[in-house]
Amino acid sequence: MTDRASTYAGTSDYIASPELRQTVNVAVVLQRPLLIKGEPGTGKTMLAQSIAQGLGMPLISWNVKSTSKAQDGLYVYDTVQRLYDSQFGDGDVADISRYIRLGQLGSALAAEERVVLLIDEIDKADLEFPNDLLWELDQMDFTIAETKETVKAKQRPVVVITSNAEKELPDAFLRRCVFHYIEFPSEEHMRSIVLVHHPDLEERLLDLAMETFYWLREIPGIQKKPSTSELIDWLQALAIGGIDPEEISRRLPFLGVLLKKDRDIDAASFALRNKGATRAGGR
């Protein structure tokens, strides 16, 4: 439990704050699900990949949708295939286990080795969804009703759960988790993240782009603030486009990469004109 193999210390492609790293290890040692919240693009999904890589475990990802059901994560019983086979006489229809397909949670529990299970965007599903998972996440076992077979984890998976806070999660569920809120990165932290993706970026370009990026995020009325991933894409566009760094704050080149809504683009252009006006008027 305390050996080095189960210690997460970050990975080269993912910048985790010391607090985040600590919390990951607390969850691993206490064997409780790690619940991660934060604005879009703050690296919640990528954290699970980084944990899997850092701990040297396989990653199983379960992307929750609004129609997801907890049961489907365990297994589905393919009745249609069985019905089909029974009518067209293919294979041994009496053997129900041939028609049981394990879901992501089911596979994680059935795995031979310890795995990282990512339950991504849990708040997309019904309010009942997290509650329906309580037993399996606590006990780490489940029974396949059709075959009476019980699957029990040989080693408890490391469970990482992400949420965008679209919905409140039930209290009973929250009580069992270890929780961390990933704050939007400060400029300094953002620099290290960006450098992971663009190690050779010209410094002046980075400076001025960051300045404009954080300025944009503060414009009142912007509905969808640009996130880390958009910044990364934008820097790529600026570098490839050979944009003169001094032009960035003046022209907001490739603004569409950062802002996706017409209203936000209008708001930014408006703020840009205002900024120009105050500057001209003030001097």
């Binding site: 305390t2 080095r4 210690t7 997460y8 210390a9 970050g10 704050s17 010391p18 607090e19 790293r21 600590q22 919390t23 990951v24 290890n25 607390v26 969850a27 040692v29 206490l30 409780r32 619940l35 919240k37 129609t67 019983y77 009745t79 249609v80 069985r82 019905l83 029974s86 009518q87 019904d126 309010l127 806070a165 679209e166 919905k167 409140e168 209290d171 929250l174 009580r175 069992r176 988790c177 270890v178 929780f179 961390h180 809120y181 704050e183 990165p185 400060s186 300094e188 932290h189 509905q223």
Partner: protein, 402 residues
């Protein structure tokens, strides 16, 4: 001090359960925070606090509990005292205390203590430079070199006092939901207008294909249809908004509510109307409240079925005559046949569920200029303050079935 922390957290309204408190005890006993207070700060928060909305209250409780504490050892000593003692926590009910004792029984105290002391010894031996996982430098995950991305300093020269200082900075004030805050949080509150509406309402008129297949298979291939309630959201909202002069100081929060509602695309329908101080026989279609652009209130009531959730937004602060008298309407050029109060009651009778959102915070309702009319309006509608928490309560109230 350790148990006092529990009490302080609850006093600051952080919803800490015994399960979580036990988890913290277990984590401490397993030696997850041996070296310094900053690690303890982060550990306790990760285990006890489940929403960033409570980070600020956590900071306050932390600061009050541990001001002056020099090392985690002082805390862990108390953890053992507590574990070996009667498990008493300030403010616990007898039932909670029993549950706690039962839960702790399962932890194997002796074993824990042995592990803990071993861990402590190892740590002293390895001291700081090592790569053991509870070390405090280098690659150690539970250690803390460098700065927190948001600016929280973890580590530093005087390690043990920084955690309290950091807590004292109250950096998470902005995430609180009991103060008026941003659109995003309001949106989250409004999303609940959907969840509660899907499960219980509406006819069973959608074919449930999966269940039908299962059921058909169970009946040896004889077709068995299974039906379910559609997952469509049925919630419709009528928003009536005070656009009077006394609302000006609240314009920002009202705008945020508007934006949030705009983005609440999950609603089946959203109607908005405006009024000035009180609702009378006409409702306005824009915030300028010009009679040219108005509709008779009676017609609105005809158009909107009773299952619309009625949300009124206003400070409910006016002269009592505006509410109670004929021709009490504030515009001298206009007249109302019936007192405003009559119209409010009519609205209440028409709609199944209503809520009045007041941008004035609840603690002022009894003392400000409008207190008389606030009290009168509250006799008719359940009133909530226009904060995230208030909106959350209001939404819950709106979703209760009648």
């Amino acid at each position: 001090m350790f148990t006092h922390f529990f009490f302080l957290l609850r006093a600051h309204k952080v919803p800490v359960s015994l399960t979580e408190w036990l988890a913290l005890t277990e984590a401490l006993a397993k030696g997850l925070a041996l070296s310094d207070l900053s690690v303890f700060y982060a550990l306790a928060r990760a285990v006890l606090v489940k929403s960033e909305a409570y980070y600020d209250q956590y900071d306050q409780a932390f600061q009050e509990a541990f001001a002056g504490v020099e090392s985690v050892a002082e805390i862990t000593d108390q953890v053992w005292d507590w574990l070996n003692g009667d498990f008493d926590l300030p403010g616990l009910t007898a039932a909670e205390r029993a549950a706690l004792a039962a839960g702790l029984g399962g932890m194997g105290l002796d074993e824990l203590q042995r592990l803990f002391e071993e861990r402590l010894r190892e740590q002293k031996e390895e001291h700081h430079g090592g790569s053991h996982w509870i070390g405090t430098r280098g690659t150690s995950p539970l250690g803390h070199s460098g700065a927190h991305p948001g600016g929280i300093r973890i580590g530093g020269q005087s390690r043990n006092s920084t955690a309290v200082k950091v807590a004292a900075e109250r950096r998470y004030k902005g995430y609180r939901t009991d103060a008026t805050v941003g659109v995003r949080q309001l949106e989250t509150a409004l999303r609940r207008l959907r969840q509660l509406s899907t499960r219980n309402d509406g006819p069973l008129d959608e074919l449930d294909l999966d269940a039908t297949i299962d059921s058909t298979a169970d009946h040896a291939g004889l077709l068995h249809l299974e039906w379910r309630r559609p997952r469509r959201n049925q919630t419709r909202v009528a928003l009536l908004m005070d656009a009077g002069g006394s609302m000006h100081p609240h314009i920002n929060v009202c705008n945020r509510l508007f934006t949030a509602l705009d983005r609440a695309t999950h609603l089946k329908d959203l109607r908005r109307y405006y009024f000035h101080n009180c609702v009378y026989d006409h409702l306005y279609l824009d915030p300028t409240c010009h009679p040219r652009n108005s509709v008779p209130t009676a017609r609105v009531l005809q158009e909107l079925s009773r299952d619309y959730k009625l949300v009124l937004v206003g400070d409910a602060s006016m002269a009592p005559s505006e509410l109670l008298e004929r021709n009490g309407i504030i515009w001298w050029s206009m007249a109302n046949e019936e007192p405003g109060m009559e119209w409010l009651r009519r609205l209440d009778r028409h709609f199944h569920r209503c809520a009045w959102m007041n941008p004035v915070h609840e603690r002022h309702w009894g003392s400000i200029y409008g207190r008389d009319t606030i009290a009168l309006v509250r006799n008719v509608f359940p009133m909530f303050e226009l904060t995230v928490d208030g909106l959350t309560d209001a939404v819950k109230n709106l979703m209760v079935r009648r």
